[in-house]
Amino acid sequence: MFRLEVRTSTPAWFNLALPLLAIVATLVLCSGLIALAGAGVLESYGVMFTASLGDSYAITETLVRAAPMIFTGLAVAVAFRAKFWNIGAEGQLLAGAVASCFVGAIPMPGPLAMLLMAIAGAAAGAAVALVPATLRVKFKVDDVVSSLLLNSVIYYALMALIEGPWKDSFSGYPISPPIEDSANFPVLIEGTRLHLGVVVALIAAPLIWFLIVRTTLGFRIRVTGENPEAARYGGINVERVLISTALLSGALAGLAGVGEVGGVHFQVMSDISPGYGYSGIVVAMLARLNPFGVVPAAIFLAAVMTGAEAMSRATGVPAFLSDVIQGTALLAMLVALLFTAYRVRRVGAAR
C-alpha cells in the first residue's frame, strides 16, 4: 500500500528535479501529437534541439527570444510571490513597447535615448499594472480578471496607434515609424542579433533575486503572499505592498517590450509579442517563482519556440506544437509541485 504524507520540508535538489521532471513528462506527452502529424518523434525533437541550441548562432537566437520571457517571467514571479495575480504582463509589455518607441523616435544621443526608453517603458508597464492592483485594493475587484481584460484594452489602443497616427503613410502598413538608428541597442557579437537588452535581462534576474530575498521590500512581498493576516498583524501595510509589487512587476514586463523595440524590431507592430506575457506565467512556475530559475526556464521556452519553427519546416508538424508544449509544461509543473507538499510512503501491511 502507498500513502500520501504531508512533507514538512523539501530537499534543495527538488528545485532542479521538479522542472526537469515536468519538462520530460511534457515532451513525452506531446510526442503523441508529433506522431499524430505523421512525423518521427525523435527526429522532430532532434531538429528542435539542433535549430535552437545546436550551434553558437542558434544559441544567440534563442537567447534573443529568451530575453523578453526572462523579463515577463520575473514580472510574474514577483507578482505571484505576493499573490498578486498579474496575468496582465502581455498588456504591460505592449505598453512598454509603445512608450519606448515614442521616446526612441526622438533624436538624441544614443546612450541617453536607450536609458530614457528603458525608463519610459518601465513606467508605462508599471502604470498599466497599477490599474488591477488599485482596483483590487480599493474596490476588491479580482485582479486576474481585470488584468486579463486590460490586455485586450491595451492591445486595441496599440492597434489604434499603428492604424491611426503612427501608420506608415508611405507603405500604408500598420506599423509605427522606426526609432532613431542611434537608439538601436548595440549588437554584442558581430553577425548575430544578440543585443544589449539580453545582457540586461540576464543581470536583472540576480538583482530581482537579491531584492526578493535580501531586502525589506522583498520580505514584505513574501510575507504578504504567504500569510496576509500575519503580515498585517506584523505591522505590514498589505495594500501598499500589493501596489509596490504591481509597480515592480509591471515595470519588469514593460522592460520586456523595451528590449523588443530597442533590440529586435526597432518599431512597434501588432504582433510584436507572440504571447510573451502569457509565457511569462509558464516561465515563472517552472522556476518555482525563483528569479534565478527564471533564466533557464525562459531559455527552455525560447528554445521550444525557435525549435518548433525549424521543426515545422523540416517535418511539417505545425509550429503550434510550441503552444501545446507551453500549456502542458505549466500543468505538468503544477502536478510535479505536489511532490513538494506530499511524499509517497510505502505502508507495510504487516505492521
Binding site: 479580482d142 481584460l149 505536489l338
Partner: protein, 314 residues
Amino acid sequence: MSAVFEQIFQVGFLAAIIRIATPLALATLGEMFSERAGVLNLGIEGIMLLCAMTGFTATSLSGSLWLGVLTAVLTGMLMGALHALFTVALGLSQHVCGIGVTLFSSGLAYFLYRLIFGQQSVPPSIKGFQTVPIPILSDIPVLGPAVFNQFALVYVAIIAIPLAAFVLYRTPWGLSVRMVGENPRAADSAGVSVIATRFQAVILGGALMGLAGAFLSMAQFNAFTFGVVSGRGWVAIALVVFGRWDPWRSAGAALLFAFVDALQLRMQASGLGHIPYEAFLMLPFIFTIVAMAVMSRNAVAPSALLKPFRREER
C-alpha cells in the same frame, strides 16, 4: 446626431443583442456552475476556443451541424474534467491551473486545426445554423423577429437560463452544488461527496462553455479563426461576478454586455468615422472592468471558491 441614433436603434438592433448575448450567456452559466461549486475555471477562454474548433471540424467533416454541437459539448466536458482533475482531485491552484488549461486548449486548437486543414489562403467555412422562426411567437411585433426568429442555439440558451436556475435552486443536486461551494465540510458531514459534486459541476460548466464555443464557429462566424473567442471567456468570468453567481442575473449581465457590444458595433458603422474603430472595440472591456469595480465591493462570492477540499485536513 439624431440620424445616428436612428441608425443605431433599428429593428435589427435587438436581434443583434440577442445574438451577441447567446454565447456569453451560455459561457457565463457554465462558469457560474463551476464557481458555485467552489471552482474558478480560468480555462474557459481556451475551452471555448477548442470547442469552437472541434465543433467546426466535426461539422466540416460530417456535414451535420448537430454532430458538431455534440462534439463541442463533449470536448467541453472533457476539458472540464481535466480542470477538475487538477483543481478538485489534486487540489492545485485554481488560478494557475486555469491559465494552464487555457494555454493548453488554445495551443491544441491551433495545432489540430492546422494539422487537419493545413494552411489555406481562404479559411474553410461551413454552412452554419440558419435562423428558424418560431410559429406565432415570431409574429409578435418588435420582440418576435428579434427573439423568436433566431438560430436554434439561441433558443437553447433561452431555455438554458430558467433550466439552470431550476437545477441550481430546486433540485437536490443543485443544493449539493451550493453546499460544496459554501461549506464543503458541512456538505461532507451531510453525506454529500464534495469531490464528485465539484467534478460534476465543472464538467457541466464545460458542456455549457462547449455550447458557447460551438455557437461562435457554427452560427456566428461559420468558420474557425484564431480570434474566434477573443476575450469572450474572460468577459464571462467578469459577468459571473457582475451577475452575483445567480443564473438570472448572470444572463441579465450577458444581455447588458451584449447591448454595449452591439452599440459599439453600430457606432463603428454609423459615421462616427473620426473616432478610431479600436476605441469602440475597447468599450465593452472597459465597461466590464468598470462594472466589476462598481459591483465587486458588495459581491459575495461562494465562500469556498478557490479553496481545495481535502477530507483529512482541518
